[in-house]
Amino acid sequence: MLRQREAEGAAETGREPGARRHRAGPHPVMAVPALAFFGVFAFIPLIGVVLLSLVNWDGITDMNWAGLANWAAVLGDPGTYHAIWLSVQVMVLSWLVQTPVSLLLGVLIAAKGRYRAVLGVLYFLPMLLSSAAIAIAFKALLDPNFGMSLAFGVEAFAQDWLGDRDLALYVVVFVIAWQFIPFHTLLYQAGVRQIPGSLYEAAELDGAGRVRQFFHITLPQLRYTIITSSTLMLVGSLTYFDLVFVLTGGGPGNATRLLPLDMYLSGFSSNEMGRASTLAVVLVATGLALALGLSRLTSFRRGSQQEGA
């Protein structure tokens, strides 16, 4: 990694001789602690995972060189594509559910009003709970024999929520939304409060109603908040693990065995570290591609706006 830095430095001086010396701002050496931290806790483990994906290892006996056998096995296993498909479904559904709800809640709470502060506190409550606590609470609520149906005496609640193959994934998406909507609401609330009040005053003078104001002022002004929130949501959905692990354990069957869960269970339940590492590399690659794609999209928009200004 240091070598790489050296090479970059050389390339820079080659392009603009002496430019570095005169440039104002922090000396590049300031970045050393951050780079060292990144190297030790991200880069070195990443190399380790790539190497592990090339061996057969059960965690305690000697490692055997496997070459690309793990890769062939993972890419030839329909289970992998099932896990990826589930992850994509969760990603898209989560975005579709969470974005409109947290946008509307954010707008609602940002406005001034007597009870909104109280409401806001209530909405943010799920943020204070850990994923494990949320999963355990929902598991109890959704229990077909002892859960909500018994508590409220409503027969309709006595569904086999988490045991039904077709239903379990949607329940998982719902609980994930319940957990993360408060966070995104907070983002939107902050975004709305940044919008200058003069815009609304002008609109009101022009006779625009609430709905028009929302679509013509609030929504366009929240452009970057929407992008930020969506990026966090989409990339974050690749890491949904703890909640699903406690809620369903990947079941029934493999109905909620998302990619991160598949990786964990391969590694720490089947003790196939090679296979798990291969899945981890797939996950990292997907996450990187997604994050890069999204940032490319956002910087393109920002650039075009600046040109227009």
């Binding site: 060292a36 030790v40 006996t61 355990i136 959704l142 002892f146 988490l162 379990a168 089947s270 003790n271």
Partner: protein, 436 residues
Amino acid sequence: MALGKRSRALLAAGAAVVLALVTACGTSGPGAGAGTSAWALTGGDEQTIRGSFESWNNDNADSAVTVEFFANDAYKQKIRTSIGAGDAPTLIFGWGGGTLRSWVQAGKVADLSAYANEDPQFTGRFLESVLKTGMVGGKTYAVPNNGMQPVLLYYNKELFDRVGAQPPKTWDDLMRLVPVFTEAGIAPFSMGGQSKWPQLMWAEYLVDRIGGPEVFEAIAANEPDSWSHPAILRSAEMIQELVDSGGFVKGFNSIATDNGADAALLYTGKAAMYLMGSWAYPTIKQAAPEFIESGNLGYTTFPTVEGGAGNPADIVGNPANFWAVSAEATDEQRQAAVSYLKDGLMSDSYVDTLLANGSVPPVTGIESKLAGSDAPEYLSYVYDLAAEAPSFQLSWDQALTPKQADALLNNLDQLFGKQITPQQFAANMNKTIEQP
């Protein structure tokens, strides 16, 4: 290298930081250089184990053992990583079988045979059939540390009285009981399907009753196509027939055993029967003591299958849990651990607390203690069942390698969920058989 002096010094400083961080990670493993340690499971016999170490440490300050407790699933995942990383505790809690074998093959646990030869009392007091699970290749690697855990068919006597039925003696009886209970609005069987392993006990018993213990022995020996045995296929069909007839409680797929919801169905009168290891008894005793005191908890063996080759007295389950000693322990730690295993483990008071908890220790000559306990009938029943069983088969997920066990639990879950046919189940499982 056209770098100035200053840059080189900075680079060296940066490299030093990286190295310092790396080495700091390498030496800060838990337990390194510390005293003797032990890891065990929460729940079940936790209090017995905790109390035993406390009194041992009071009397033997120089060979004191620190003990930590972990939840079942979390422990199973943690222990292997720790053993692999060389951070294992001195005393390792285990199940014997395939897991123990893999530890032995990797040279991670110590051979205790020498201590057993030196002092017959070291292993001589345990039931032979149980002790076998702690042996690999004729050598002793682990000794039992808690009660015997055969799988029993528990039932709610009050519900059987209400519908006027008798506990099933044969599989046909069992299938006839299903509509009787369903029509009375009672689930025939409780089941914690989300935990997956409770489904395994059905397969274990059915295969044993139909084909005898040899069927699984062939699987454990990695014989090709051993999952295609007719007994496996027939038992898989019978499982699906039971699912189809509505034998299991509604939503069994989403009920987990870790919060006791499956046992609760039995003692709250929602389900009539419950196939579970004897570890369910202490759980029910703690959650609903009045249910046991009122005499409503019935228990019997798994039904026979007409024309089956297996001995009806065979049982499946976990013979016990075991202590193994880490091969990476220092001489001092090993001495302390062995002296505890000799004198602290299964002492008189240890056996007494196990019995008081509703667990039956795998120790010979405790008939009088059993008779004097507060549940003499039940405890003697479990003791005799385990002591006299022609075959006491270790739970399959513990007998197989972890990789095979994970595939088994997954495929079985899909079999119960009717996502795969018995033939697909056998074919999927045959693929996991490893050729040496």
